[in-house]
C-alpha cells in the first residue's frame, strides 16, 4: 500500500470511535425527517446535499413547523457559521493543495471530520500525503451518515404515530445543548435565547427564532468579553 492509502486508512481508523456516536444520530435524523413530513427521497438526499447533522435536524424541525423558506435558510446559515472556524483552522495546512482537493475536503468538513484532522495536523504537521488522512476521516463519516439515515428512514416508517416521535427533536437538541453549558456566558446565552424565543413567539415567519438566536449570541459574547478577557473556550 502506498503512502496515500496508508494515510487514508489511518484517517478512517481515527474516525471510527466518532462513528459510534454518529450512527444512532443519523438514524434518529432519518426517522424524524420522515415524521416531519419530508419524503423519503428528500430525507435521504438532505444527508448528502447538506451533510451537516445539526443543520439537518433544525431544517426538519422548521419544515414540520411550516416555517418560510427564507427563515429556514437564514437559520441554517447561523447554525453552520461554526464551520467557518474549522475552515480558518485547517486553511494553513491545506494551502498548497489543488482547488479540487480544497473543494472536496471542504464538502467533507463536518465537526466529526475536523476533530481528528486538526489533531493529526497539529501532531505531525503537513506531510506530502496528510490530506489523504482528512479524506479517509471524511469518507468514513460520509458513508456512515448515508447508511444510518437510510436505516432511520426505513425504521421510522414503521413507528406508530401515537409515540409522539416529533418530541425526540427538542430532546435531541437538549442532549446537544446541556453538556455544553460549562460556564456562565454559555448558560446566559442559552437562557436569554430561550426567553426571547418565548416572548417573540407570536412574531410572523418564525422571525422570533432568529431574533432569539442573535440575542443569545450577543449576550454570551459580551459576558465572555467582560469576565474572561482574551480567553476563548
Amino acid at each position: 500500500m502506498g503512502e496515500a492509502g496508508k494515510n487514508f486508512w489511518e484517517g478512517v481508523r481515527a474516525e471510527i470511535p466518532l462513528l459510534i456516536g454518529v450512527f444512532p444520530f443519523g438514524m434518529i435524523y432519518g426517522a424524524l425527517a420522515l415524521g416531519a413530513g419530508l419524503s423519503k427521497d428528500a430525507s435521504q438526499m438532505m444527508s448528502s446535499i447538506v451533510f451537516a447533522g445539526s443543520a439537518q435536524f433544525v431544517t426538519t424541525q422548521l419544515v414540520s413547523d411550516a416555517a418560510p423558506a427564507l427563515v429556514i435558510i437564514l437559520t441554517i446559515a447561523v447554525v453552520n457559521l461554526r464551520h467557518m472556524l474549522y475552515s480558518a483552522s485547517l486553511a494553513p495546512y491545506l494551502k498548497d493543495l489543488s482547488l479540487k482537493w480544497k473543494a472536496l475536503l471542504s464538502y467533507l468538513l463536518t465537526d466529526e471530520c475536523y476533530a481528528p484532522s486538526i489533531l493529526k495536523y497539529e501532531e505531525t504537521g503537513v506531510k506530502p500525503f496528510s490530506h489523504w488522512f482528512v479524506l479517509g476521516a471524511g469518507v468514513a463519516l460520509w458513508s456512515t451518515w448515508q447508511v444510518s439515515t437510510a436505516l432511520g428512514i426505513f425504521l421510522g416508517a414503521a413507528i406508530p404515530d401515537n409515540w409522539q416521535l416529533d418530541f425526540a427533536l427538542p430532546l435531541t437538541f437538549i442532549a446537544m445543548v446541556v453538556p455544553a453549558l460549562k460556564n456562565r456566558p454559555m448558560v446566559a446565552a442559552a437562557v436569554s435565547a430561550g426567553v426571547v424565543a418565548l416572548l417573540a413567539y407570536g412574531l410572523p415567519f418564525k422571525l422570533g427564532l432568529i431574533l432569539a438566536a442573535l440575542t443569545g449570541i450577543v449576550v454570551g459574547t459580551v459576558l465572555e468579553n467582560n469576565k474572561t478577557p482574551g480567553r476563548a473556550l
Binding site: 423558506a69 461554526r82 475552515s87 475536503l105 418530541f167 425526540a168 437538549i174 424565543a197 438566536a213 449570541i217
Partner: protein, 104 residues
C-alpha cells in the same frame, strides 16, 4: 415552499462556509470577536427552538403541570446534565412522556 430548493440553497451555504477560509487563506482573517461569538451559536439557536417546544405545546403558553412535554423536557435536561449521553437523554424524555400520558 419547494423543499428541494431549500435543501439546495442550504447545501450551498454549508459548503460555502466550509470552503470560505480554506479558499481565501492569507487574504482574510476571522476577527477575534466573531471567532468568540461563534461558540455561542449552538446553545443560542438550539435553546431558541427548545423553549417554545416545551412551553407552547399546543400553540398556547402552558406553565401548568398538565404540560407533559414541559415535565418530560425537564427530566431530559437533568438526564443530559448528569449523563452527557445523547441517546440516554432522548430515551429518558420519550419514555417519561409516554408514562405521563398513560397516567394523566
Amino acid at each position: 415552499m419547494n423543499i428541494w430548493l431549500v435543501m439546495l440553497i442550504a447545501g450551498l451555504i454549508t459548503f460555502g462556509m466550509r470552503f470560505s477560509l480554506i479558499f481565501l487563506f492569507g487574504k482574510f482573517e476571522v476577527p477575534e470577536t466573531l471567532r468568540r461569538a461563534l461558540h455561542y451559536v449552538p446553545p443560542a439557536v438550539l435553546s431558541a427552538i427548545i423553549f417554545p417546544e416545551l412551553l407552547f405545546p399546543a400553540g398556547q403558553l402552558d406553565f401548568s403541570p398538565a404540560n407533559t412535554r414541559l415535565l418530560a423536557g425537564i427530566v431530559a435536561i437533568l438526564v443530559a446534565w448528569f449523563s452527557k449521553n445523547t441517546l440516554l437523554t432522548i430515551l429518558a424524555g420519550m419514555i417519561f412522556l409516554f408514562i405521563l400520558q398513560v397516567l394523566l
